[in-house]
């Protein structure tokens, strides 16, 4: 059964240089207990997707479409109702723990405040729960650590604290935005392991540019390019049988896959190419691709692609 259903989502930002079409258009489903990886490069709109689910975009943003969660359209909820969902039902783990933790508040208190708010516990009980959370993300001597400030934590520990904060109110859906960015390999692997553990029997939207990490955690993978999804498949299918030329190119440009680059660069989201958005960089592009926008087509069960090569 699906927990979150996004239909015809469009997110546009007005800027001085024009309208940034950060998301245009996305349909996506996340099932109960599904861990979905959202892969894309800088500026493809993947973070915006996460932010629009919990509605943390600036007020000037124009959002169209529907985001259904447990029978409610999140986009139609009042700000007050939405606040009851943030942190409690849907938790977002923001990227870059160093700037995402408040430097002047104790780590324990930062975890406890959400617990106090959403679970109605008193200060002491919330604090105890916060210590428990730190323990559950395997931070040694959590009792002592809860009383420390973020600058006393190392990078990996801060990421663990962020995860603890996200899990604190036992949410049904976790949105994790690049939780392994900037970490050293060994630390990164441990965070991956932890995330895998804590997301058991939960749904997770795992946003990353790191395909290697995504494959270790996710059941399915959605590939995003220039504001839309171009391929959706089971994790192993993305590796074994990538269909979209962008997915193929992306895989081939990885250092351990031969470092063969895709020519050109991602288009600006203000001025998107006509037809297929990938056609200026695509080796298989035909005349049709330059004019017509390809639809997302399911090639086999659970594997869809947005490319005329397959229709």
């Amino acid at each position: 059964m699906s927990l979150l259903t996004i239909t015809h989502l469009k997110v546009h930002f007005p800027t001085q240089d024009g309208m940034v079409k950060a998301i245009d258009t996305i349909d996506l489903e996340i099932a109960n207990s599904e861990r979905l990886g959202l892969i894309g490069e800088t500026g493809c709109g993947k973070t915006v997707l996460g932010m629009s689910i919990i509605r943390l975009l600036q007020p000037s943003t124009k959002i169209e479409g529907e985001i259904w969660y447990k029978g409610k359209d999140l986009l139609k909820l009042s700000e007050g109702e939405m606040r009851k969902i943030r942190g409690k039902e849907i938790a977002m783990i923001l990227q870059n723990p160093t700037t995402s933790l408040n430097p002047v508040l104790k780590v324990g208190d930062q975890i406890a405040e959400a617990i106090q708010l959403h679970q109605g516990l008193d200060k002491r009980a919330a604090r105890e729960k916060a210590v428990e959370m730190l323990e559950s993300v395997k931070i040694p001597s959590p009792d002592k650590r809860a009383n420390e400030y973020p600058h006393e934590f190392s990078g990996g520990m801060k990421e663990r604290a962020m995860i603890a904060m996200g899990l604190a109110c036992n949410p049904s859906l976790i949105i994790a935005d690049e939780p392994t960015k900037g970490l050293d390999v060994t630390i990164k692997m441990q965070i991956v392991k932890l995330l895998k553990e804590v997301s058991r029997r939960k749904s997770m939207l795992f946003i990353t540019h790191d395909l290697g990490v995504a494959t270790q955690i996710c059941d399915n993978i959605a590939v995003m390019y220039a504001g839309e999804l171009v391929e959706y498949a089971k994790t192993e299918d993305v590796f074994k049988n990538p269909l979209h030329p962008y997915t193929q190119g992306f895989l081939n440009s990885l250092p351990n896959m031969g470092l063969k680059p895709i020519r050109g660069m991602s288009p600006s989201l203000i001025d998107l190419p006509s037809g297929c958005r990938f056609h200026p960089r695509c080796d298989h592009a035909s005349a049709k691709c330059t004019i017509e926008h390809p639809p997302m087509v399911e090639i086999e069960k659970g594997h869809s692609v947005r490319c005329f090569l397959y229709t």
């Binding site: 709109g45 973070t47 975009l57």
Partner: protein, 284 residues
């Protein structure tokens, strides 16, 4: 550089506050430049003292019979002259020292202790003390304002230079064989100029206030006509509060000071908003 300026003016045009400030300042500058043509009388000429406003003297005359309107018009010259000369010199010294202190770390550390010391000394009380010992003249005042004005600029410029000199592009240019002087002039100075301009405007408004305050306390140059001086004599006049005298003797001078400071504050605010655009984070 030209493109920068055009982009800058375009940005400035959007700031209502900035345009209002600029309008007022231009008005005062014009009055100051053309004072001899605008003023109806020589401000030192004496007529019948303490006249109420009439067709001869639109704002009446003061305790020794000088035309108050003419005093005001000439006062614009004094206030603006002192403000701009002092702040330009102070900015020049402050910028030069700030550049050097930011670029050469060891010198900068000790230098900044001195600057911190300077900044912690209360400006006006010290100026009062000095003015009490020195014979007040315009140039003495300017000297004092420069002497106490440069550390503000130096401090701000230094912290900006500190962050600039650690940018990779400065290292890159050094690797290309560029010397310190070249890097300072070509790569660091252009990046701090906008800050210097903001600082200069802010400093000018401080000086206007300080000069008016000193003159009000009777520590200004007694031979020149400044707005603060007018207020000083009015304040000393025995019946100033219990008659209507204050309406044309005190109020116009006070408002002139206020509007000059207001215009500089507005311009300074608008400039700062442009120079330091707080990065509006776009989540992409």
């Amino acid at each position: 550089m030209i493109e920068d300026t055009i982009a800058f003016l375009k940005g400035y045009k959007n700031s209502v506050i900035g345009l209002v400030g600029l309008g007022i300042l231009i008005f005062f500058v014009v009055v100051a430049i053309f004072a001899p043509y605008i003023a109806p009388y020589d401000p030192h000429e004496m007529y019948k003292p303490v006249r109420h406003p009439n067709s001869d003297h639109l704002l009446g005359t003061n305790h020794i019979g000088q035309d108050i309107l003419s005093e005001l018009i000439y006062g614009t010259r004094v206030s603006l002259f002192i403000a701009f000369i002092s702040s330009i010199i102070a900015s020049y010294i402050g910028t030069s020292l700030g550049l050097i202190a930011g670029y050469f770390e060891k010198f900068g550390f000790f230098f900044m202790r001195i600057v911190d010391g300077f900044l912690a000394i209360p400006r006006l009380p010290l100026i009062i003390v000095i003015a009490a010992f020195m014979r007040p003249s315009i140039w003495n005042l300017i000297f004092i304002f420069v002497f106490f004005g440069w550390p503000f600029t130096a401090r701000i410029i230094r912290s900006e230079v500190l962050s600039l000199r650690n940018r990779p592009y400065v290292d890159a240019v050094r690797m290309l064989g560029a010397g310190n002087f070249y890097i300072l002039c070509r790569h660091i100075l252009p990046n701090v100029i906008p800050l210097v301009v903001v600082q200069l405007i802010m400093e000018a408004s401080h000086v206007v206030l300080a000069e008016a305050s000193l003159s009000f306390l009777g520590l200004g140059d007694p031979t020149t006509k400044s707005w603060g001086m007018i207020l000083h004599y009015a304040f000393e006049y025995p019946t100033i509060f219990i008659s209507d005298l204050w309406k044309w003797w005190m109020l116009p001078a006070g408002l002139c000071i206020t509007f000059t400071i207001l215009s500089l504050t507005f311009i300074g605010y608008a400039l700062e908003d442009l120079v330091n655009p707080r990065l509006r984070r776009e989540i992409l």
